[in-house]
């Protein structure tokens, strides 16, 4: 049972529908930025997206090739481990299903890798069946570098650190290998509805 904080009433601004705001989260209308280091700026002619690891050969798309793949526009709710949630965010990008369509693998996990050295681990089943995208558009505009442009992973059903900014590829693995924040105190899986924020949750 929680103790009462004397004199605390709460502002309860924008409480939002309880079936869409996970426990411990509050709604925000703007789009806060959180990154562990400087924002990288890779020129698009040097950009590519690769799938490596437990896969035959190298699967690679240039920026132009990625943009030529069938894209989807999705409207999703996002939840940051720092407690903010944002409803009805609109993204454009390529479904990870599309990227993995011709990839044969025995892997069960993936590590997303990024410009700047960031990594995050996600079970492969959380990236497939319409659950994840490589997004390059936000709210009808190209994705801003501060928010991960030119492209970021979008895995909205997990805490937003899993939606790796500046993503450059997926490394498919047999075991679940902790990524950057997962090695620095944050939960290996990160389900916001179970409040899996930190180690031990």
């Amino acid at each position: 049972m929680s103790i009462i904080s004397r004199g605390f009433g709460g502002r309860r601004r924008d409480d939002g529908p309880p079936d869409r705001v996970p426990p411990g989260q509050y709604l925000t209308r703007d789009f806060p930025v959180l990154s562990a280091g400087p924002t990288p700026h890779t020129p698009l002619d040097q950009w590519d997206f690769t799938i490596v690891g437990e896969v035959d050969g190298l699967v690679r798309w240039t920026w132009e090739e990625l943009r030529a793949l069938p894209s989807e526009t999705v409207t999703v709710d996002i939840h940051c481990v720092t407690k903010w949630s944002k409803l009805d965010t609109q993204w454009e990008g390529v479904s990870v299903d599309t990227l993995l369509a011709d990839v044969e693998t025995s892997a069960e996990y993936a590590v997303a890798f990024c410009d700047g050295g960031y990594t995050t681990n996600v079970p492969l089943e959380d990236l497939t069946d319409g659950k994840a995208w490589v997004a390059y558009g936000y709210d009808g505009e190209p994705l801003d570098p501060e928010h991960g442009g030119p492209a970021r992973l979008l895995v909205p059903h997990l805490y937003f650190w899993k939606s790796a900014k500046w993503v450059r590829g997926l490394r498919l693995t047999q075991t679940d290998e902790p990524g950057f924040w997962e090695s620095n105190g944050y939960h290996l899986y990160g389900d916001p509805w179970k409040e899996q924020r930190y180690w031990g949750d």
């Binding site: 009462i4 709460g10 309860r12 411990g24 806060p32 930025v33 959180l34 990288p40 924040w181």
Partner: protein, 233 residues
């Protein structure tokens, strides 16, 4: 569980809450805690706050800026008083933390209350007697807004140096920097053989400082950032 032991004003908008936390196992400079408040009807709100105190301090101290639009910070700065209790969880974070042996000099760059985790690092450095040369470049709006002003003066020397810049208003006779952090300032303040930089402040501040450090030739992998957006609080 934390019990407020003492509240000290730091600036007109910023207060430090010294907390008694039974069983606190210590922390590292730069880490944060989650504060969770519970209303009488069970409603809860939680936010993250950087720890300000050194790891060996008797109490866990949080330095909090009251945000007009905030939910938790106005409670901590305006309502809470000694004896009040709330839940805290932590310490959290393993990246934006003090490293006593980075292999060269360290630069700390703080904007406004972004100085808080950097102060925890400076306090830890002093308490442990670390020799690592360290500079703090600290951007405030005015001299009145400088948090930890006297203590920072006291920490200076012994390989630790503080450089202030006052962006909006300067006291009479001010000879220091009087503008936002820019490339020229970072060239003058950042050691050329920088081993590690910690940058904390509002997002536009951190974006500008971190990208300028990279443009000046510093390795992006050596620049660690922590940001707070307008929805903090």
């Amino acid at each position: 569980m934390a019990t407020v032991a003492e509240i000290r004003p730091e600036t007109p908008r910023v207060k430090t809450l010294a907390l008694d936390v039974p069983g606190w196992a210590g922390h590292r400079g730069g880490q944060h805690v989650d504060v969770r408040l519970t209303a009488e009807d069970g409603y809860q709100a939680q936010r993250s706050y950087s720890i300000a105190s050194a790891a060996n301090a008797a109490r866990v101290e949080l330095t909090v800026e009251g945000l007009e639009d905030g939910e938790v910070s106005p409670y901590l700065t305006s309502v809470a008083r000694a004896g009040d209790q709330f839940e805290i969880r932590g310490p959290i974070g393993g990246y934006f933390v003090w490293n006593a042996d980075p292999g060269g000099p360290v630069l700390l760059v703080g904007g406004g209350s972004g100085v808080v985790p950097l102060m925890a690092m400076a306090r830890q450095r002093a308490a442990d007697g670390d020799a690592v040369p360290t500079r703090l470049l600290y951007s405030s709006r005015s001299w009145e807004d400088v948090i930890y002003r006297d203590e920072l003066e006291g920490l200076s020397g012994d390989g630790f140096r503080v450089v202030h810049t006052l962006t909006r208003e300067q006291p009479p006779g001010w000879t220091g920097y009087a503008r936002r952090v820019d490339a020229e300032m970072l060239t003058q303040v950042a050691p050329s053989d920088l081993a590690l930089a910690f940058v904390c402040g509002p997002t536009p501040f951190v974006e500008a400082v971190a990208s300028t450090l990279v443009q000046l030739g510093h390795d992006p992998a050596k620049v660690r950032t922590e940001r707070f957006g307008p929805t903090g609080g």
